[in-house]
């Protein structure tokens, strides 16, 4: 077993420098690496290019790194729910690249699986296709156009899992999985924070979502808030 454990967020984020590209796992506020975001604020790392499906809300998630103006560029599919984001974007302080959600996921997968490019039909005939190779392929009896999209290259991937073991193996809970597994596999250096860190051997090898080979540093996170963005309920009758 190769031990991947580091003490805490501080140790985990050592070596993160200004002007690097960082992937952040999570969908909305679900499954985001809360401890690492807090640590990045402490470190004051500037000029971050953040690959993340969303940009958090004003006072939580990546929104916190927007408030401190540590993010130079966001590569996301959907960035609503954030006034400070809107202000920085409209003023030109923040660069924003909007890409389809499936393209975002698949560009992570491409990096994870060593595929330099992938083809997707998402965005054909729209402004997303500008400057990209368009190519016709026949597949399952249908011929149509696809865009060539490149694998992401990220200096770091920071993900949040439910359980992890000392070998770096990760298990995600429910929809907190989302982008986390692909980003974990796609980072040049991958940092995982987990709610429960257990000794190697305690996780069923068949249940592991992300093998430890992809996870360079793992630590037990603390004080998870796990804020709910839209609390929707029904009444008991």
């Amino acid at each position: 077993m190769i031990n991947r454990v580091v003490k805490n967020a501080e140790e985990a984020l050592k070596g993160v420098k200004d002007n690097q590209t960082i992937m952040f796992g999570g969908f909305g506020l679900c499954g985001i690496p809360e401890n690492s975001i807090t640590q990045l604020i402490k470190m004051g790392t500037k000029g971050i290019t953040a690959i993340s499906n969303n940009a958090g809300v004003d006072d939580f998630g990546l929104g916190l790194l927007l408030q401190t103006k540590q993010i130079k560029k966001m590569i996301s599919s959907y960035v609503g729910e954030n006034d400070e984001f809107e202000r920085q974007m409209l003023s030109g302080e923040l660069e924003v690249e909007l890409i389809p959600q499936g393209t975002l996921a698949t560009r992570c997968l491409a990096a994870a699986y060593g595929m330099p490019v992938i083809y997707t039909p998402a965005g054909v005939g729209t402004e997303v296709s500008i400057g990209k190779e368009v190519r016709r392929f026949a597949f399952n009896g249908e011929e149509k156009e696809y865009l060539m999209e490149k694998a992401f290259e990220a200096d770091f991937a920071i993900v949040k899992a439910w359980k992890g073991d000392t070998a770096g193996n990760l298990i995600f809970k429910s929809t907190a999985r989302n982008f986390n597994p692909m980003m974990a596999m796609a980072g040049k250096i991958t940092i995982a924070e987990v709610e429960q860190l257990v000794p190697a051997g305690q996780l069923d090898p068949d249940h592991i979502h992300t093998p430890g080979i992809y996870v360079h540093r793992i630590f037990q996170g603390e004080n998870y808030e796990k804020r709910i963005e839209q609390r929707t309920v029904r009444k008991r009758n």
């Binding site: 698949t106 005939g125 982008f179 309920v233």
Partner: protein, 218 residues
């Protein structure tokens, strides 16, 4: 004329037994309320759920269990969870039978615009471009005219496109229309109390009216 729930109720009739369905935000979400209880249908949420259930009972919300609209939800028996790569993989591979989503504009050749208004804050396309580019069956739920009274069924979309030649059917407060493969909105049904003339007036794109147009059966 239909209200939002009426549109959802009419669209629910397009959902057939054994279908996997992806519902967009807004009116499409309401469609789930009108799927007959005995029908076997599974909802896909593109953040990684198959077999999505209703909202949780108060006090049972789980921050780790949300839908693509970031709302707390539940899982039904037989559900599964997967990552975003698999989610959009199954969308691209056309495993999802029916996609229902909203739109700002639809053109008579089936183009759809629903993500960006130039000059306004752009929030992003989320999974919409993936869905419209791949889904084999796309139904749009929307108002027939916008707040300024202009038709949203156009010869050509003015707004930046989300996808091209993809919309198969449109349900509005006034009508059900099919987008023909050769182009044009074919009027299929009128909403209760709505005349063909009203629909003609509200439709800027090529409208095809053939024979008697029945009123919707809701």
């Amino acid at each position: 004329m239909l209200d939002k729930n009426g549109i959802a109720k009419r669209i629910a009739k397009e959902v057939k037994n054994g279908m996997f369905v992806n519902l967009g935000i807004g009116i499409p979400t309401l469609v789930a309320n009108y799927i007959p209880a005995g029908m076997s249908v599974e909802l896909q949420s593109e953040n990684g759920i198959l077999g999505m259930g209703p909202f949780p009972f108060e006090g049972e919300e789980d921050a780790d269990l949300i839908n693509a609209g970031k709302q707390t939800v539940t899982l039904l028996p037989g559900s599964s969870i997967f990552d975003s790569a698999m989610s959009f993989g199954m969308i691209r591979a056309q495993k999802v039978d029916l996609t229902i989503l909203g739109a700002m504009e639809v053109s008579e050749n089936g183009d759809i615009a629903n993500w960006k208004i130039p000059g306004k804050m752009v929030k992003g396309m989320g999974g919409a471009m993936d869905l419209v580019a791949s889904a084999k069956n796309i139904i749009v739920a929307m108002q027939h005219v916008n707040k300024a009274g202009q038709s949203k069924l156009l010869p050509k979309c003015d707004l930046p496109l989300t996808g091209i030649k993809c919309v198969k059917k449109i349900v509005t407060e006034l009508a059900v229309l099919e987008v023909l493969p050769q182009g044009g909105f074919k009027l299929l049904e009128r909403a209760p109390g709505v005349s063909v003339e009203e629909i003609i007036k509200a439709t800027a794109g090529k409208l095809i009216v053939e024979g008697e147009i029945k009123e919707m059966d809701l």
